[in-house]
């Protein structure tokens, strides 16, 4: 179902609770009563169009806002993606990390197992961090430079250098198998490890991994379906400038 501006935001959240962290990243807090999406956006000075594109892309994996793409400033998308990155790095990963560490004090058949999970998760964490840093240090500056060139319809020395150093095509190629490790970790914990006697914590970790995976999928959908196609369009019109 398409999310529209005159729907109540509370109903939207009932529709898909995964949107709670999303609206939070926009600075929207829960407790908005019966206000519609449009009203809440106005109160919080959030661009309504951008908000709608984003929640719809989150909510429906087949949603593809082709025409609306043109109207969303890249800067907004990048800012939003940076906020999600920060929430992964500062909150989500360390939450799971903490739980794995407290797993070490549980009574387990073999303590080595927990060390294995810990090491594996650390490996995943550094891979994801590296991926995020690459986006922040290479991809986003490139995307912003592209937007600047379009806006000014001219090159400066610095944005020309950035423009020529990268292309969004490269990003599409690189943008894939970070999730592989996460899936493996889940598989190992489900299929091949015996949980400790007090299994609640162990179960919570698995559930957290599922949620993290889901959230990451949503996140990359924004990158793949909103950001990338927009940049491809802009690249094309720049090549006409050259």
């Amino acid at each position: 179902m398409r999310i529209k501006k005159d729907m109540k935001l509370a109903d939207v959240i009932q529709l898909n609770y995964m949107l709670i962290p999303v609206i939070h990243r926009f600075g929207i807090n829960l407790g908005f009563g019966d206000k519609t999406v449009a009203e809440v956006c106005k109160d919080n000075e959030v661009d309504l169009n951008f908000f709608l594109q984003l929640v719809n892309a989150y909510h429906d994996k087949d949603y593809f806002p082709k025409e609306e793409l043109q109207t969303i400033p890249v800067k907004n998308i990048v800012n939003y993606l940076k906020m999600t990155h920060a929430s992964y790095l500062n909150d989500k990963l360390s939450e799971i990390d903490d739980k794995i560490i407290s797993l070490q004090s549980e009574d387990m058949e073999d303590q080595r197992y927990i060390l294995l999970i810990k090491n594996f998760f650390d490996g995943y964490k550094s891979e994801l961090t590296e991926h995020i840093l690459h986006e922040e240090n290479v991809v986003f500056p490139y995307v912003l430079a592209v937007e600047e060139i379009i806006k000014t319809q001219s090159f400066t020395a610095s944005n020309r250098a950035i423009f020529e150093s990268f292309s969004i095509e490269k990003y599409e190629e690189e943008h894939n198998d970070v999730e592989e490790k996460l899936m493996d970790l889940k598989t190992i914990m489900i299929k091949y490890l015996t949980p400790p006697a007090n299994s609640t914590l162990y179960h919570t970790i698995i559930q957290d991994l599922f949620k993290l995976e889901e959230d990451l999928n949503y996140h990359s959908r924004i990158e793949d379906k909103v950001l990338t196609p927009k940049v491809i369009l802009m690249e094309k019109s720049i090549s006409n400038l050259l």
Binding site: E180, L185, T187, I188, K191
Partner: protein, 197 residues
């Protein structure tokens, strides 16, 4: 797990359809066809190869004591007889017997038992699903951090063979990444933790 398929052959329409409706409560199974004509039984069973045949003895072709053997020797078919006669188990051999007077739970329990047995034997058959000793050896080398080329050289096989083994290992275990495979190898004592680089 694949769904088990069930055929019902019974000449009473009420019982046929009633039984189908009861069996909808059975998990992982599906009634694929109802048969009301004795002449069709053999043909349909051969064609649709059900996992379970529920049949009224008077629908059975000919008089045979060991029905299963006679009729369905080639199929891995479980036979369930449904009838209003008492003591039918003394006359005909089958995997289970349903009496018209049985309650819903009794019927479901009997079929569930058959399904459980079937799934167990499927499980046993899937020894090929666990990794072979050859694959274990390859897995060990992967976990030690060797590249495909290095593994091929050490084991005197082609890279192509190594790649095929890797694909099979990944498929069987559901683990893709090298670090995931390494954890598996340690858990199953193929390598020790100290050997990991």
């Amino acid at each position: 797990m694949a769904r088990s398929t069930i055929l019902i052959a019974e000449n009473s329409c009420i019982i046929r359809k009633g039984l189908r409706s009861i069996l909808q409560n059975l998990e992982n199974s599906e009634v694929i066809q109802l048969i009301d004509d004795k002449e069709d039984v053999c043909k349909i069973v051969t064609k649709s190869k059900p996992d379970i045949l529920i049949i009224n003895p008077n629908m059975l072709p000919g008089d045979c004591l060991d029905v299963k053997k006679e009729l369905f020797a080639t199929n891995k078919l479980s036979l369930v007889l449904i009838s209003d006669k008492k003591n039918i188990e003394k006359e005909l051999k089958a995997d289970a017997y349903i009496n018209y007077s049985d309650g819903q739970n009794a019927i479901l329990d009997k079929l569930q038992e058959i399904l459980n047995k079937k799934n167990k034997s499927v499980h046993a058959d899937k020894s090929s699903e666990t990794i072979s000793s050859r694959e274990k050896n390859i897995l060990k080398h992967i976990a030690l951090g060797l590249t495909n080329k290095e593994i091929a050289d050490q084991l005197f096989i082609s890279i192509h063979t190594v790649v095929t083994h890797r694909k099979n290992i990944t498929q069987k275990l559901g683990i893709k990444s090298v670090s995931g495979l390494t954890v598996y190898a340690i858990l199953h004592n193929l390598i020790s933790m100290d050997e990991v680089k």
